[in-house]
Each structure stands twice: as structure tokens, then as C-alpha cells.
């Protein structure tokens, strides 16, 4: 069988080819003889390969021989059986290959292949190997192999004939190739060499550096967008996991073969947990199949919540494994677990109207920051003075080597009666407080315990002339309570005066920054949904988006216009924030945005709408929009997104 198929791929020698092949085939057992006489079996293979590389000028004729030789090695006990039985052949060959140090998971899939017809992939591997080795230590090797060759030839006239045959073959191959143009007609010959460049090779336009080390979980891999996302990821060499609800033959047929299929439901946290482990990115393009509220909640709201929570948990696990040294670890700024931990915090009070301070309407200010008997650090009191405020502040002392510029924001774990507070960060030289600049951001808490994220980008300078906050320079953290802009008391909760407050502090941490987004959510812009269910759909989607934003993951939320099934990359795209888009967009373009956003730092923590450029009717053009046309090697995403607001 081997001989027959090899003949089909014979070298260009035409009629002579069959003879060559037959010769190789017969020759291989005889070649095994001197090898077996060598010091050891393992060494024998290596020598054989060298010999082969030396003489292996003709790719077509040479490779099958090599295989045959290895088979004879592996199945030395019954060489006749080995050459007849494909299954037996496959096994020793695999062994031989692993001995060569080939790694990668592709080799596992090769078990099913038969030996004789080498898949291009393997040809590439062999060829690549050959090229590299030959180039690398060509001379030395040639010499070593030459010695072996001499010995072989000395003992066996067969080897001599074989060698001359190979030389003739090579000459003939090159000669006959001259008569061709490098066009479609010579493809098969050039295939081995050029495939090195194409499949995942560095010159392929689809290659993404580091894609092999990135595992992407695609939730909703069989959706209109998801299917294209999976393909795009595969083309770029990512490891892809697909979360599907059922693993029917129909579903599996739809996905590329080497996708890792995980069966689960986003509504079920336990299955989600196993799906996210081992992943470094998530693309969520699942959506409810109906507009029934239950479905919407399950997939668009609770599903996003479950997946992002599971992913954050997985990150936390990783961080714990590395004992806080992981890039996913948060930085502890303050932890309030003992009375001692309150040291350094100062309680202060003041007023926005210094002149009216102590006026006749002064009804008093009182505030304290104590460690309660219940083991909680409580900042509480009241501010009845108009324009008055109270605050606690502390000069930050970060662990050696960590600076806040490598963090994204602050995370407060707090409890209390649900007031809103102002967080103030002070920057500037420590020695001269007159030069310090203050930045503020509002932090809204809930009744009971909650965690609040305040990204550094949310801080605004107190003095509008100051430059934006540079977290690196921050030296003091202040939490201020002021009775202004408090929500009216939550009726049921003993209807307290909004001027009373109680804040239980558990810890303050800095959130690690990331260059890239962790979680890409395909939401929708709301146009194109049947009007009577629009509200419900948008509500569920919005809840899901919010859950993701609060999760602490780096997120990108893509809200495409109505999806159209047509090829992507044809029309210019509009990226916008704020429900102004009107056009549709092709699924392929949305998929492309998702894949591009994986490694785009400008996509991190952004939500945006995207649709086709509006094409006005001839003569009706009002204005020209700035649009971004996807093109070869044109990264339209970065310029488009860099002008959009962060943390939206």
C-alpha cells in the first residue's frame, strides 16, 4: 500500500519514478542492516537520519524512504508485517517523531493518518526541520554524515547505486522544473517549502504573535457571530474553547475540528466554572433565542454575571497560587482588622463655606473613626452644618516596589447605611503641601456590605486647571462625607436623616491594571429589535453589561447595530458611544472587532456602538462622517477606539 501511494506522488521523473520508488522500498530493509549493527537502536535512527539528510535532496522520493526506514526500525521484529499494516506503521513513526523532539498537539491528531501519504503539515515539519538543520550546522553535519555514508557505501554496493540514483533524481527534478513558470502549474512542487510560510508561519497576514499561548473561551460559539469568531481565532492560531449547550453532531460539525468543546449552560454556574478554567480571554456572543423575559435573564443578564464571576474567581485562584505575586493580584492599601490598623488615619472636618462657619445655623458636626467591639472599623457621625463635611485621611505607605501607576483604580469593601462619599486623592511633593493637587471621585455605597470600584480615570481635578490624575504621584487618600447630594433616605430603613452616616470599612485595595481586555461582550444597540419587546431585551442586556463592568475584569462591550449576514470588511464602520447609530453591520465585521480587541489596549474597559457608515442618497449628503474602513494590515480599531471614553 505504501508503495502504491508513494508512486502517486512520484518525483517528476515520469516513467522513471516508479522504478525509483520501487527501489527505495526494497532498499529500506537492506538499509536497516548496517543501522542495526550500530551501537544502539536509538543511535541508529539518528545516524539514519543524518545519512538521509545528506542524501535527501529529492523531497518526494526521500521522505517516504525515511518513513520506511523508521518503520523498519520500530517494528524490527517483523518488518514485513510493519510495511503491510498501516496501523502498525503509524505507531513507530510517531515514536520516532517524538524522539526528534517534535512538540505540539498537532502530532496527536496524526495518529489517524496513514503513513504513506504525508499530510502537508508533516511535510512542512520535516522540510522545516531539514532546512533548519542543514543550514544550521550544515558543514559539520555533512561531514559526519559523509563518513557514515562512506562506510555504508563501502559495505554495500546497493548504497552506492542508491546514492547515484538520488543525484540523478535531483538533477532531473531541477532540470524539469526549469521548464515551468512559477505559476499554478508548479504548485505541488513548491508546496512543501511555501507552506512553511503560510500555516501559522511568521509571514502569514493572519498570524498574531503569542496566539499559541492564548486560550480564548467563546461563549455562544454556534451563534451567527460566534461561528465566525471561532474561525477567525483558529486562523490566527489561538487555542479555542467553545461553550455549547449540546454536543450534537450538528453542533460539532459547525465548529472547526480542533476546537475544545465544553458542554454547559451559562445559566448554570457550576458548568461555567469548568469552562473558564485555563482560559485567558472570553468572548461572549451568546444571546437569548427568544425574547421571553426568563430566557433574556438567563442568558443576557445572569449568564454574563455567571461567566464574569467565574472568570474573576479563576483569576483570583491564579493570584492565590502565586501568593500575591501574580499580575492579577490586587494591592492591599489598607485592611481594617484590628484597632492598630486605624493608626495613621486622621479624622478632620471642614466646610465649603469657611466664612459662614460657626454661623447661627451651626447645628454641629460630629464624626469618629473607631474600631467597634464587633471588630469593625466604623466611620460614623453627622454633619448638620450647611456646607460642612467630615473626612478621614491617611498618608499612603505602599509596599516597596509597588506604585499606583501599575494599578487601574481603587476597590473599597465597605458597609454602612448607603451614603455616597467623595474619595479624594492628593498628589504633589510631600514636603510642600501648598503645591499638592487634589482629585476627587464620588463613591456610592449600598445599605449593607458591598464592594465599590473607583477607577483612577474617574477622578477629576478639584482645580480644573490641573492636569489629569497621575496615580504614580498619589500620596494621600481621603474619604469625605458631605450631606450634599445624598439620595433620599431609603424609606424602610428607619428613614434616617441624610445627614447621618455610618461607613464600615473592611479593606481598600488597588485593582491591577492590564494592557488588554479580558472579557469581550457582544451586546446590542437596541435598534432592530421588535418594538414591543425592546424594553425587556435592553433591560436584560443592560443588566448583563453592568454586571460585567462591576466584575473587575478588563472588559470590552460591543453593541452592534442589526446584524446582517454578509461578508465583512467591505464597508466603512462607525464607532460611537451614546445610542446614535442607525445602520446595520455584518456579523463578520463584529467578529473581526472582537478578535482585534483581544490584544488592543485601547479596547480595554470601553463600551461602544458600531455600525456601517450611513450612506446618504446621492445629492442628499449633509455631512461626512469619519469612518474606519477595515483593510489589509490596517488596524482600524485602535484609532477608532482611542477617541472614545474609557470606563463606559
Amino acid at each position: 500500500m505504501a508503495a502504491a501511494i508513494v508512486a502517486a506522488r512520484a518525483p517528476p521523473g515520469g516513467g522513471g519514478a516508479a522504478a525509483v520508488i520501487a527501489y527505495h522500498h526494497c532498499a529500506s530493509p537492506s538499509r536497516a542492516l548496517p543501522l542495526a549493527a550500530g551501537p544502539s537502536a536509538g543511535g541508529g535512527v539518528v545516524v539514519g537520519r543524518r545519512y538521509h539528510h545528506h542524501g535527501g535532496a529529492c523531497c518526494f522520493a526521500a521522505k517516504p524512504t525515511q518513513v520506511a526506514a523508521e518503520v523498519d526500525q520500530g517494528g524490527a521484529a517483523e518488518p514485513g508485517v510493519a510495511s503491510a499494516n498501516a496501523a502498525v506503521e503509524a505507531k513507530p513513526r510517531k515514536k520516532a517523531r517524538s524522539r526528534r523532539g517534535r512538540k505540539g498537539k498537532r502530532s496527536s491528531s496524526s495518529e489517524t493518518r496513514t503513513t504513506a501519504v504525508l499530510e502537508e503539515e508533516e511535510e512542512v515539519e520535516v522540510k522545516e526541520k531539514k532546512t533548519e538543520e542543514d543550514g544550521e550546522e550544515g558543514k559539520r553535519k555533512e561531514k559526519a554524515a559523509g563518513l557514515d555514508l562512506d562506510e555504508v557505501m563501502a559495505v554495500s554496493p546497493v548504497g552506492l547505486g542508491r546514492r547515484s540514483r538520488q543525484i540523478f533524481d535531483e538533477v532531473w527534478r531541477k532540470f524539469s522544473r526549469l521548464g515551468q513558470m512559477s505559476s499554478a502549474s508548479s504548485t505541488a512542487l513548491a508546496e512543501e517549502e511555501q507552506a512553511v510560510l503560510i500555516r501559522g508561519g511568521p509571514m502569514c497576514e493572519f498570524t498574531v504573535p503569542g496566539a499559541q499561548d492564548t486560550t480564548v473561551l467563546v461563549v455562544g460559539a454556534t451563534s451567527r457571530i460566534g461561528r465566525i469568531v471561532v474561525r477567525k481565532l483558529m486562523l490566527r492560531g489561538y487555542n479555542v474553547k467553545a461553550l455549547v449547550r449540546r454536543n450534537d453532531a450538528e453542533v460539532i460539525d459547525m465548529l472547526p475540528r480542533s476546537v475544545d468543546i465544553v458542554v454547559g449552560d451559562v445559566g448554570d454556574p457550576s458548568t461555567v466554572k469548568s469552562a473558564v478554567s485555563g482560559c485567558s480571554k472570553i468572548i461572549y456572543c451568546a444571546t437569548a433565542r427568544s425574547t421571553i423575559t426568563g430566557d433574556l435573564n438567563r442568558v443576557d443578564n445572569q449568564g454574563v454575571r455567571n461567566v464574569s464571576k467565574a472568570f474573576q474567581d479563576y483569576y483570583n485562584e491564579l493570584a492565590q497560587l502565586r501568593a500575591g505575586k501574580s499580575s492579577k493580584s490586587k494591592l492591599l492599601i489598607a485592611k481594617f482588622k484590628s484597632p492598630k490598623s486605624l493608626n495613621g488615619w486622621e479624622v478632620d472636618q471642614g466646610s465649603y463655606f469657611p466664612n459662614t462657619f460657626a454661623s447661627r445655623f451651626d447645628e454641629g458636626i460630629d464624626a469618629s473613626f473607631d474600631f467597634s467591639e464587633a471588630g469593625q472599623a466604623v466611620f460614623s457621625g453627622f454633619v448638620f452644618t450647611r456646607g460642612g463635611y467630615v473626612e478621614i485621611s491617611k498618608r499612603l505607605s505602599l509596599p516597596l516596589g509597588s506604585t499606583l501607576d501599575r494599578y487601574d483604580g481603587l476597590l473599597f469593601s465597605v458597609g454602612g447605611n448607603g451614603r455616597s462619599y467623595v474619595v479624594i486623592l492628593e498628589t504633589g511633593p510631600l514636603a510642600d503641601t501648598s503645591q499638592s493637587k487634589k482629585y476627587f471621585a464620588r463613591m456610592t455605597t449600598k445599605v449593607g456590605f458591598c464592594r465599590v470600584r473607583v477607577p483612577f480615570s474617574a477622578f477629576r481635578p478639584v482645580n480644573p486647571q490641573d492636569p489629569p490624575l497621575d496615580p504614580f504621584l498619589v500620596h494621600t487618600l481621603t474619604i469625605r462625607f458631605e450631606p450634599k447630594r445624598q439620595r433620599p433616605g431609603d424609606g424602610s430603613q428607619s428613614a434616617t436623616d441624610p445627614r447621618n452616616f455610618e461607613l464600615i470599612l473592611e479593606y481598600i485595595k488597588a485593582l491591577p491594571t492590564g494592557q488588554e481586555t479580558d472579557f469581550i461582550l457582544v451586546s446590542c444597540s437596541g435598534s432592530g429589535i421588535e418594538p414591543n419587546r425592546r424594553e425587556q431585551v435592553l433591560k436584560a442586556k443592560k443588566a448583563g453589561e453592568d454586571a460585567l463592568r462591576r466584575s473587575g475584569l478588563g472588559y470590552t462591550i460591543v453593541r452592534p447595530g442589526p446584524l446582517q449576514e454578509e461578508p465583512g470588511g467591505q464597508r466603512a464602520l462607525i464607532f460611537d458611544q451614546g445610542n446614535r447609530i442607525s445602520q446595520g453591520i455584518s456579523c463578520a465585521d463584529v467578529a473581526d472587532i472582537c478578535v482585534k480587541a483581544l490584544h488592543d489596549s485601547t479596547a480595554r474597559n470601553k463600551s461602544f456602538d458600531v455600525c456601517y457608515e450611513y450612506v446618504a442618497e446621492q445629492g442628499n449628503e449633509l455631512y461626512e462622517l469619519v469612518a474606519h474602513l477595515p483593510d489589509k494590515a490596517n488596524n482600524y480599531l485602535t484609532p477608532a477606539l482611542s477617541v472614545l471614553e474609557k470606563n463606559t
Binding site: 515520469g14 523532539g101 532540470f175 502549474s185 505541488a188 513548491a190 493572519f206 480542533s258 454578509e566
Partner: protein, 386 residues
């Protein structure tokens, strides 16, 4: 396969003996075993009789039914140099790609890894074709017979069957890759067959797009770049022919732009690279980029031509003669290039986006040399093992 159930509804004529007879009748016009007489005959007589009799077989009723999605395409010859680029491009642009490959013991796994669907069919067996066309909007045909097999099985008989079948089944666009100047060199079998296929498509009444290509940069790697790096001898001719090589990735990209462009419908486009190169120039460029001199063996074109004449005398070397047939073209001082400005304008493509050969080879050598360096660093440790 999902399509098998709906097959019954398809024109049964295609697989029926009568239909096959029609195919083989047209096949007799083609010069399978009359190779010598063909070449010696005057040019007029050697032209194939090109008629399309597919119209007569079309049942009028297939117009109705579920409309096929415009994103569903079939790529014929998907494992080839160009074919795989077309598949990648199509998948990346969001098409649902079906690949027609010959049944082989080792299936084209990489296509399925990318997300394409693979169907088995053999163009030389017309009865296997119709099933593959079910639900397909566009056929992209990049198949060319392998050099080691007789040129006519796939390139003429198979194509005729495929085109007739495509017509009968209402395929809405047929993209065919041909060779530049193929109408000017009827003495080269492959070019003649390509030219006849072009005419056959034009007569078939399909909405078609024919793309003539000059040469692929990818072919140069195996022919010149690798031998130079391996310090093996490079064989070149002294032919003055110039070829405007093009990157297959660019070909694939432009193909899809042209395919969707209404203005390019039923057109014959020629894609050529930015500059035409002679063999000598390419070798010089490779030498410069590799930083080492090539061991060039120059074969005069006359020798090639002589060998071709010689090999034609024997039946068993006929295929070799066919392969060497391009020597006629090579010696004819042709320039395989066309000005692309009109094409770029038609397609709305920027000429700056087309990869030049210098850049292509430079990328190749940079990457390969870097890889070799890495390997050398590694091999210092592994040496001990050996």
C-alpha cells in the same frame, strides 16, 4: 452530510447515462491521446471545440426554493498554494466555506481546523460533483492537476463537468483562475486547456469572473530561496522572460473584492505583481538578502527545448514533455505582466497594499535567518545528547 437528502430533487440528468454521454462527447473533442497530432497540426485545427450544452439540460423548475445564502462558497482545489489562501481569506471575511477535495486516505485536516467544511469529490468522476454544489452560491475554482498526473483529467474533463454542473444547478457566480497570455501559447497544453476553459465558461451563460495570473511569489521560495540557504545549486535559465510575481494572499484578497464588485461581473481580469522579474534578477535578489552567493547552474533554454523535443518521442515521457512545454514560452521573450492601474481603479484597491517581491523575500529571509539563529543557540545544548 446534510445535502444528501435534498439531492433527489436535483436534476437527475446529471448523473444519468445520457448526461454522461454528453460529457464524454465533448470530451472526445479534446485531444487526449492525440497529443502529437495536436501539436503538429496548424493552430486553428488544434483548438478544442468549445460549446456548452448545459442549457439544454437545465430544468426550469429549480429557480424556486430556499434561496442560497450569498455567503456560501465552494472552493475547488482548496489544498493548493492559492486555494488555501482563498479558503483562509474567505473564512476570515465571514463566508461559509466548503472545500471540494479528492477522497484521500489522509484528509485535508488543516482546512477543517480552520473551520471550513470538507466534502469529498473527484472532478474526474462527474457523478460525485452535484452533491457538493447543493446550497452553494459561488464556486471558486483554483484547481490545477498535479504535475505528476495527466494534465487533462482534471484540467479539462473535470472542469467541463464542473462547469456544466454549476450551470445546471444554478450556481450564481463562477470564479476561475487562468494563466496570463494563455491565448497566445496554444502549444503549451496547460495554457491551451486554460484558454479553452475560459471560453467554455464564457459560453456557458453563468455569471463568471475569470482571473488570469502571472506567477506566485510562493513558488520562488522553493525554487531559489531554500536552495540558496542550503548552499545547494540553483538552476536557472538564461531566458529573458519576465514574470510579475504576486503574493497569493494578495491574489485571494483581490479575488474577493472583485467577486463582490458588480462592475467586475462577467469580466476577465489579469492580476499581476508590481514589477516583472527575470530569473537572474530573482536569484540576485535572493543572494543579496541571504548574504551568500548562490551556486547557479544556468541551463540554456535551447537545451530545454531540445529535451522537450526528445521526450515527446516516447509515450512514457509524454508528461515530462508537457511539463517542459513552458520552455517554449520562456524562450519567446514574453513579459508576464500587465499594467494594473485600471484593475486597481475598478476594484478600488490601493496599489500600495500590494506586496512587492523585495518585501516578500526580505520578510522571508529575515524570519528564516532569525529562526536559524535561535536554533543554533538551542543546539549548543542538544549537541551533547547526540
Amino acid at each position: 452530510m446534510a445535502s444528501s437528502t435534498s439531492l433527489a430533487a436535483l436534476p437527475s440528468q446529471l448523473a444519468s447515462p445520457a448526461r454522461r454521454a454528453a460529457l464524454s462527447r465533448s470530451a472526445t473533442a479534446r485531444p487526449r491521446h492525440h497529443h502529437h497530432s495536436l501539436l503538429r497540426a496548424p493552430p486553428k485545427g488544434c483548438r478544442l471545440v468549445v460549446t456548452c450544452n448545459a442549457q439544454t439540460a437545465v430544468p426550469t423548475s429549480i429557480a424556486q426554493g430556499t434561496p442560497v445564502r450569498p455567503t456560501s462558497i465552494l472552493v475547488v482545489g482548496a489544498t493548493g498554494t492559492l486555494g488555501r489562501q482563498v479558503v483562509r481569506r474567505a473564512l476570515d471575511e465571514g463566508y461559509d466555506v466548503r472545500c471540494l477535495v479528492r477522497p484521500r486516505p489522509a484528509p485535508a485536516d488543516f482546512l477543517r481546523d480552520w473551520g471550513a467544511t470538507v466534502v469529498n469529490a473527484d472532478l474526474s468522476k462527474p457523478e460525485t460533483i452535484p452533491a457538493t454544489l447543493v446550497g452553494i452560491h459561488t464556486v471558486i475554482d483554483c484547481a490545477t492537476g498535479r504535475p505528476e498526473e495527466p494534465i487533462r483529467t482534471v484540467d479539462w474533463e473535470g472542469k467541463v463537468a464542473l462547469i456544466q454542473c454549476a450551470k445546471a444547478m444554478g450556481i450564481q457566480k463562477y470564479v476561475f483562475y487562468s494563466i496570463h497570455n494563455c491565448d497566445k501559447h496554444p502549444e503549451v497544453p496547460l495554457m491551451e486547456i486554460k484558454h479553452c476553459t475560459e471560453k467554455f465558461i464564457q459560453d456557458a451563460g453563468l455569471d463568471y469572473l475569470i482571473i488570469r495570473l502571472c506567477g506566485f511569489m510562493q513558488g520562488l521560495i522553493g525554487q531559489y530561496a531554500v536552495p540558496i540557504l542550503e548552499e545547494k545549486s540553483v538552476w536557472g535559465t538564461d531566458a529573458p522572460t519576465r514574470i510579475a510575481y504576486m503574493d497569493t494572499q494578495d491574489v485571494a484578497r483581490l479575488t474577493f473584492i472583485a467577486m463582490r464588485n458588480e462592475k467586475a461581473s462577467k469580466k476577465l481580469l489579469t492580476f499581476a505583481g508590481p514589477r516583472a522579474w527575470t530569473t537572474q534578477e530573482v536569484i540576485t535578489l535572493c543572494e543579496r538578502l541571504a548574504g551568500q552567493d548562490a551556486n547557479v547552474t544556468t541551463v540554456p533554454v535551447a537545451v530545454l527545448r531540445f529535451t522537450r523535443q526528445l521526450t515527446r518521442f516516447f509515450q512514457w515521457t509524454n508528461d515530462v514533455a508537457d511539463r517542459l512545454a513552458f520552455s517554449e514560452v520562456l524562450s519567446s521573450d514574453t513579459i508576464f505582466s500587465v499594467p494594473m492601474n485600471d484593475t486597481y481603479q475598478l476594484l478600488g484597491v490601493d496599489s500600495k497594499d500590494i506586496l512587492t517581491l523585495e518585501k516578500y523575500l526580505q520578510d522571508y529571509f529575515t524570519n528564516i535567518l532569525k529562526k536559524l539563529k535561535d536554533l543554533k543557540a538551542q543546539s549548543k545544548q542538544t549537541d551533547i545528547f547526540f
